[in-house]
């Protein structure tokens, strides 16, 4: 596809379809896949037979790399990150990687500083502090 040569997540060039789509953090995916697995367990005796390898690997991955386990905490994280003018993709990368310093955040999501939105360093710092507070009190 012609779009793929320009693809660059660092500049938020991920195609219209995905820019407008709902992005999910690992912790949110974990809740969804858990629910699905429970449904399968209720429907049949051996759910492991029913699920694809992709599902199993994804479930293992999101369980391991979810920073927040509590559904309320997950909701709070999304709420905090949504207060700043971030694209869904940027929001989820921050929610997944939980950078501790502004420098780290900018290295992971360079597009925050570009695209004409001015995010002051203090604003980013406050946002990262709020995130780490949720983790502490989860």
């Amino acid at each position: 596809m012609s779009g793929e040569e320009d693809e660059n997540a660092a500049e938020l060039k991920i195609g219209d379809e995905f820019l407008k789509a709902k992005c999910l953090m690992n912790c949110e995916v974990s809740l969804i896949l858990d629910r699905r697995y429970e449904q399968l367990q209720q429907m049949s005796d051996d759910p492991t037979n029913q699920v694809s390898q992709v599902f199993e690997k994804s479930l293992q991955y999101v369980k391991r790399f979810s920073r927040y386990k509590n559904p309320d905490a997950v909701r709070q994280v999304r709420e905090i990150l949504s207060r700043h003018k971030l694209a869904e993709f940027e929001l989820c990368v921050l929610g997944n990687l939980c950078p501790e310093t502004v420098e780290e955040a900018l290295a992971m999501v360079p597009s925050i500083k570009t695209r004409g939105r001015t995010h002051e360093d203090e604003e980013i710092d406050k946002m990262l502090n709020d995130l780490s507070l949720i983790k502490k009190f989860e």
Partner: protein, 166 residues
């Protein structure tokens, strides 16, 4: 990165499935056909979360099969160029190492590993910095269909166990 998107697909159903459970049979077939597949455009379809709409069925000329347009919601995993994500190292050799992030395999060549990390062969092959402070390695078989990654940049490389970090 995981996304929740709406996709469309034309499902073909054999007449033997027609009856009161037509919709259930259609959804079951959809799940069997689509979950676990991968496309260049949408990435890996991990799980179908719901069916939005099933359109009117069209009988195909010459056969008794009927095609239904189905709109469904699903969770997909689509990695992007330039995206930063966490992965688990699965195999290490002197050319580099393989890692897994969910359903996707990633290969990091030794050219894209910081210069101060060197390959150590042996029972448990790994990469270690010259003063022995940082080390990673693991042991699992190879697989095909992979992406290319790098750890030669700021803040990339070994992370602590998330449970241990404060």
């Amino acid at each position: 990165m995981f996304f929740h998107i709406v996709l469309e697909r034309n499902m073909q159903l054999h007449p033997r499935h027609f009856g009161p459970n037509l919709r259930d049979k259609l959804v079951a077939k959809l799940m069997k056909d689509v979950e676990g597949t991968c496309s260049g455009r949408h990435g890996f379809v991990v799980a179908i979360t719901g069916v939005d709409n099933i359109g009117k069925g069209l009988i195909r000329d010459g056969t008794g099969f009927v095609t239904f347009p189905v709109k469904y919601q699903c969770v997909v995993f689509r990695p992007f160029k330039g995206e930063i994500l966490e992965a688990v190292v699965t195999m290490v050799n002197k050319m580099g190492f393989f890692a897994e992030a969910g359903p996707v395999q990633i290969f990091v060549s030794n050219h894209l590993i910081p210069d101060d990390m060197e390959f150590q062969s042996g029972d448990m092959p790994n990469y270690t910095t010259s003063d022995g402070s940082v080390c990673f390695g693991a042991w699992l078989p190879l697989a095909l269909n992979f992406c290319i990654g790098t750890i030669k940049d700021d803040f990339l490389g070994v992370i602590n166990d998330p449970g241990a970090a404060a």
